[in-house]
Amino acid sequence: MKKFLFYLFLSFILSFSIFGHDVRFETIETNATIVKIKFGDDTPYSHEKCEIFLKENNIEKLYQVVFTDPNGMFAFAPIKDGDYKVKCFREDGHGINFQLNKKNSVPILEKSNLSDQIIRYLIGISLIFGLFFLLWKYKNFVTY
């Protein structure tokens, strides 16, 4: 019995060390932020390295190193609240630096970012509508 218990204990200890080196995976359903990086002409910033730094006590610590996928995207799901600085730099000098802020212990949601061109189109459309509205008001003012 003593011998049996000894072997049982030994196998238990050994199995722990085996589990320690074992690499496993699981998929988690979570609200990760999908960061999409692209050039001005919508070409994806694909297969490029980005480094993410977490700013703590005014010190930037390397938090994560990622490569963008063929669509210029990477997933970002930080546990800690804080200011995360993303630095992407390509060998030809094209790069981007931006900041992602996570507050109130809730995961960062995916957010699409309007390009300058779309903003310009929206401003243009708003101005046209505004002008028509002013003309309509003026016409009404003159009529009555």
Partner: protein, 219 residues
Amino acid sequence: MTKQIILFYLSFIFTSSLVCHDLWLDAKDSNLILRYGHLFSRETQELTYQSNQIQKVQCFDKKVKYKWNYPLRLSKSCPIHWIEFTTGFWTKTHTGLKNDHPKKFTDPIDAWESWELLKYLQQWTSSYQKPFTDNLEIVPLENPLLLKEGDKIQLQVFYNYKPLSNVSVSYRDDVRGNTDSNGKIRIRLQEKGLQLIKVSYTIKGEIRKIYTSILSFKI
């Protein structure tokens, strides 16, 4: 969900923009110095280059022999400077873009050869209304040095001395339109100072060559 979105604060603060590279001449004392980088991004970003990346330096209408090192210095007296510059082969790999020939990588995704050409105009005669090289070249069809901020300029794009149709022309990194069937385009010079008008053209091949030609002058 809306509450969540309000609660969650996510800001994207872009401190640099993603644009093509510029090649320009910067006036310093009695010289013009060749600069490479991003002139019209939020901050002027200058990149260092190697002197062997400069393949050709020519002065039109004047015989000048050039020898160069980094940075390239040119005289202000030349009517038109022409510079051919290459950063060589670029290979897209799964671990980023590399400045090397695709043969050096086992599984390249894409590859190209990049050329930048700069034509800097300081004087004008009507004979300048034609291309000087067999390369990709933007030719002004009127004296650009007489123009002011807000004026329009008529341009013609050539490759191998032939007009190049349907290529996009950009001004200060904004695409202004495509050339017509005669390779012509009219664009407005929106800002005073150094002008950079750019056109790109790709020559297909085993490894494609991307040419970017810049017309530059001051108003």
